[in-house]
Symmetry: C2
Subunit: 344 residues, 2 copies
C-alpha cells in the first residue's frame, strides 16, 4: 500500500496511516445501572455505590481503576505494555482520573470534553495508534451520580425535585484497549467536533444543549465520508436522552437527513425510564462508555452490527459559568467502528 501524504478527509474527519483495532473493553457500573435493561451485560456491578471508599470522588476513581484492570485482563495486556492513557471525567480538575489512574504509572494525557470525553479519548487514542506512536494504548472515562450531583446540582441530602428534562448521571466507567494488532472491531475514522452554542440557558436540559452539536457533527461525518445514514447500522449518541433525541432528529430533518431509523442513544438504553424514574435518560461520560463496551461492542464483534457511528456529546458548563449567566454550549466527537471479518 502506498504511503499517503495526509489523512484528513473533508472538513473535520480523519482516517489513519495504520489500522487501529479496539481489542478489548470493560464496563464497571453502580447498583442502579445494574438494575437497568443492560444490567446483564456489564462486567461488574457494585452494590455499594461508594465502592468501599470514603467519598463519591474516591468511589469514581475506584471505578476507573477497576475498569482499566478488567479491560487489560481481557486483552491479556500488562499495564507496563500500555504506552499512553487518554482519560477524563466530569469533575473539576479531572480528579477522578488523576487519583484513579495514578497507580498504573502509565504516561497520561488528561482530557476534558464533558460527556463527549468518551469520544474524545477514543479519537486521540486511535490517532496515536494509527500514526505508529504506540503499540497499545488505553482510553477511558467515568462519571458518578454522587460526585456529579454534588458538583453540578445539589448535594444528594438536599433531595431536590428534578424537571422531566433532567438526565440522571450514570455511575460507571468504560475502558478500551486499542492496538495495531488485528482484532474483531476496527476504528476506521473519526470526526472531531466544534463548540456549538444555540443559546440554551437551562442546565437541567442538557439534551437540548447537546443536540445541536450532535446534529452538526453527524451531518459533517456523513458529508466528509460521503455516506448516508443507512451506511451505518446504528448512529449512537451518548446521552441526549428522550428530549435531546427528538431535537436531534428534527434538526437533521431540516437538513434533509433522516436518521430516525438508525438512531439510538446510550442515555435512553441504559435505564428503564418508567420503572427507574430517571427522567429524560442517563448522562455523564460514563454513560456512553459503558454502553459502548457492554452493548454495542459485542454486537460489532459478532457481526450483528457491521458499522456504527458512535457520537458522545458534551455540555460545556460549570456551576461558575452557569451562575454567571453564560449559555450552555455543546460539543460532540464521533468515532466510526466496524466489524472485521476474521480470516479463515
Amino acid at each position: 500500500m502506498p504511503v499517503k501524504e495526509n489523512y484528513y478527509i473533508g472538513e473535520q474527519s480523519l482516517t489513519f496511516p495504520k489500522d487501529v483495532y479496539l481489542i478489548s473493553s470493560a464496563s464497571v457500573v453502580g447498583k442502579k445501572e445494574g438494575e437497568g435493561p443492560l444490567g446483564g451485560a456489564f462486567d461488574m456491578i457494585c452494590e455499594d455505590d461508594k465502592f468501599g471508599e470514603e467519598t463519591w470522588e474516591m468511589a469514581e476513581s475506584a471505578l476507573q481503576k477497576e475498569a482499566l484492570a478488567l479491560a487489560l485482563g481481557k486483552a491479556d495486556v500488562k499495564p507496563e505494555d500500555v504506552r499512553y492513557l487518554f482519560a477524563g471525567d466530569l469533575l473539576g480538575q479531572n480528579i477522578a482520573t488523576s487519583f484513579g489512574l495514578m497507580d498504573y504509572e502509565i504516561p497520561l494525557f488528561g482530557l476534558y470534553g464533558a460527556c463527549s470525553t468518551a469520544g474524545e479519548s477514543l479519537s486521540l487514542a486511535a490517532m496515536c495508534v494509527g500514526a505508529g506512536y504506540a503499540k497499545i494504548v488505553a482510553a477511558l472515562t467515568s462519571s458518578h451520580f454522587g460526585s456529579a450531583e454534588k458538583q453540578f446540582r445539589f448535594p444528594l441530602e438536599y433531595a431536590n425535585q428534578r424537571p422531566v428534562s433532567a438526565t440522571w448521571t450514570v455511575t460507571g466507567s468504560g475502558a478500551f484497549i486499542l492496538s495495531g494488532k488485528k482484532g474483531k472491531v476496527r476504528i476506521t475514522g473519526i470526526t472531531t467536533g466544534k463548540i456549538i452554542d444555540m443559546g440554551i440557558k437551562d442546565s437541567m436540559n442538557m439534551g437540548a444543549a447537546m443536540a445541536p452539536a450532535a446534529a452538526d457533527l453527524i451531518a459533517q461525518n456523513l458529508e466528509d465520508f460521503k455516506r448516508k445514514p443507512s451506511d451505518y447500522d446504528k448512529i449512537v449518541t451518548g446521552d441526549l436522552g428522550y428530549v435531546g433525541q427528538e431535537i436531534l432528529i428534527n434538526l437533521l430533518q431540516q437538513k434533509k437527513i433522516d436518521i430516525s431509523k438508525v438512531h439510538e442513544d446510550c442515555g435512553i438504553l441504559i435505564y428503564d425510564k418508567d420503572k427507574q424514574g430517571t427522567g429524560s435518560g442517563g448522562s455523564g461520560c460514563g454513560c456512553s462508555a459503558v454502553t459502548l463496551s457492554a452493548h454495542y461492542l459485542p454486537l460489532l464483534e459478532e457481526g450483528s452490527l457491521r458499522r456504527i457511528l458512535f457520537v458522545p456529546t458534551g455540555a460545556l458548563l460549570s456551576t461558575v459559568s452557569f451562575n454567571e449567566g453564560q449559555n450552555v454550549p455543546g460539543i460532540a466527537h464521533a468515532v466510526v467502528l466496524e466489524h472485521m471479518e476474521q480470516e479463515g
Copy 2:
C-alpha cells in the same frame, strides 16, 4: 527518507514521521506580568485585568481569544485553515477555554493537565501535525490570577496572607501555531509524563508537589534520547518557582544528573520576586506558555539557543480532593524545541 514503522523512543518519548514546526506564537498578559522582567517581550499587556469583561472567568476567555488571534495574524493563517485546537486552562470544566475559543468554530480537543497543559497541548498538537493529520493546528493555554485564586484559594476580597512557598498565578495566555511548513523552530520530540505522588499535602507549596514529576520526566527524557544535560542549552520548567527549583536540582543530583548549569524556570523569570511580592514565583498554565512565546522562542528563532527542553509541570488537585485529604500529585510533559538553520 525511508518510512519507519514506529516512532516511539525509550520508555516515554516520541519522534514524528513528518517534521513539525512552530511557525508562530503570541502572548497576552495582565498588568503585573507587564511590569515584570519580561514586560517588554509580551505581545499585549492589558492594563485592565478584567479585559473589559464582567467576570474573571470571562476575562480569562478573552485572554485565550486574543492570544490565538495574534498568533494567527503573525503566521498569516486564517482561522478556517486551522484544523484542530488543543487547549485547556485550570478552571473546573475548562470554561475559560470553551467560552474563549467557541467563536473560532475550529474542532477542539479540550485538555486538562493542570499547569502542565502547555506541554500536553504542544505534545498532542505536534503528534497531530507529525502524523499528517493536519497541515496547521494551534495549541494554547491560559490562567488568570483572579479566576484561579477564586477557585483554588480564597476570593481576592478576603485578602489572605500567603506563605513564602506559595506561587502567584500568572494572568496570561500563550498561543502556538504548528505546521509542517518549514519554520525557524522545530519540535523534534516529546516525552510524556506519568502521575508522580510523593505524598505532598500542602496546596500552598506547589513547587514541592511538582518537582518530583519534573525530575522523573527530565531523567527519562535524557535516557530516552541518550542525551546529557549539556545537550540542551536550557532545560526550562514551567512553574516550580524558587522552592521547587531547589528540590528539582537536588532530586536529579541524587540520580547523578546535574542540571544546575542549564536549568531555568518560567515561574522564576516572569516576576521580580523582591519588587513584586510574588512569593516563590509565577504559576498557572499561562505562565510557561507566555514565557515560552515571549522569551524562549525568539532566542530559538535567532539561534542564540540551539536546543531546549521545555517541561511544564502540573499539580493535580482540586479544592474537593484537597479538602477530602488527598495528596497533591504532580505530572510533567516535555517538548524538545530546536533552532532550524535556514537554507541560503
